[in-house]
């Protein structure tokens, strides 16, 4: 089945992003453990931009054009079958090294986040990307797209204004084709 597409629409691969970072925050005389998950990042976005407020079932998603291009980050809230997406790309930046491999690709992924209000991180690390068929409701199947991505990362950041050393995982999964 082909992919329905018009000039104004873009076919994209949309995946859920899961962030799980932990580490120690402090200064030259103290170190205390802390963690940062996707829910914390969504809360931090709301703190950084008080115009943004997300419901309890909000999800952080990454949207990558099917034919390649820069990813965008959205927060998706679903009510019934309707999705309400908010673009939060301005809080994130990403980069990656050249990748090696075909169906399974290996690369160094860098991802940073800054809410502009004291919470930020800049992490990178070894990332495994699986590629294969991705489908979507009424959009057909695309044969060679990122189905999941799993990064073991480390780096530094600030947790609520306190410097922190962080490690953890950042994953993208549940890839679906969407025409947007």
């Amino acid at each position: 089945m082909g992919i329905a597409q018009s000039n104004a629409q873009t076919t994209s691969i949309v995946s859920q992003v899961n962030i799980a970072l932990s580490g120690f925050g402090g200064d030259s005389s103290n170190a205390s453990p802390a963690k940062l998950s996707t829910k914390d990042v969504l809360n931090a976005i709301s703190v950084g931009d008080t115009n943004l407020s997300f419901g309890k079932a909000a999800r952080l998603m990454v949207v990558v054009p099917a034919d390649g291009g820069n990813p965008t980050f959205i927060v998706r809230e679903t009510s019934g079958h309707a999705n309400n997406d908010t673009d939060v790309s301005s809080f994130f930046s990403t980069d990656s090294s050249s990748a090696v491999g075909d169906k399974t690709r290996y690369q160094i992924l860098s991802i940073s986040f800054d809410n502009g209000a004291g919470t930020d991180f800049n992490v990178n690390g070894f990332t495994t990307e699986h590629r294969g068929k991705v489908t979507g409701h009424g959009t057909g199947t695309l044969p060679d797209e990122t189905t999941s991505l799993n990064g073991s990362v480390l780096g530094t950041g600030d947790i609520d204004g306190t410097f922190a050393i962080l490690k953890g995982t950042i994953t993208a999964s549940g890839a679906k084709v969407e025409v947007q």
Binding site: Q16, N18, A20, S22, G25, G26, D27, S28, S29, N30, S32, P33, A34, K35, L36, S37, T38, K39, D40, N43, A44, V47, K56, A57, A58, R59, T119, T147, I159, D160, G161, T162, F163, A164, T171, S173, G174, K176
Partner: protein
Amino acid sequence: MRPKVFIIVVALGLFTLGSLFVIRQSNDRYAKTQESPATAPGTNLPRETLASTNLPVVEADVAAQSRIQTATMPSDSSEDAQKAYVEQRSAQLLEMAMTDDRTSLDSILSELANRDPEIRKAALEATIQFGSRDAIPKLADAASQTDDPNEKAALTDAIEFLKLPSLTEISSHSAKPVANNSTAGNKPANKGTWGKRVPPAPSPNQ
């Protein structure tokens, strides 16, 4: 001679009866398997689909399962169906992880014992993202029951992760709670033990 012949006849008779009994038991078990509900416990998959995967089967059912496996050799469509199911279930679990309701957490935790390792992995990720310390006893149970050292380590890591204070908890309790010594103020962090490495300049002889 007669007693010996008698003993041989009795032994042959007992052997024949025993064989018939074993064959009958085996046939009954096979018939029951074919009449049983179409779904396997713990999954919503048809048994045929499950049989086409490498998932472990209940020991008592091994003989029957092996026959089903022979009867329904793995095909691309059943593999695709299994893969699609695993992807769909994994996505559902991660969606549930972003909610705050106890029912979702229970559903996620129930999948920590799923036969499919991919679903177990998604359930663990979902448990981490859900972020509730109520999950710790179930994670500890799962860790004690698995023989896979990698899975055990992942479950133990998840327990340690959940024990940590989250950014949201830190923010809600105080402005700068990460430093646990209130007299410390905002001292800058020390430079790393290893500074930036600069390659030595080549010696003039080289």
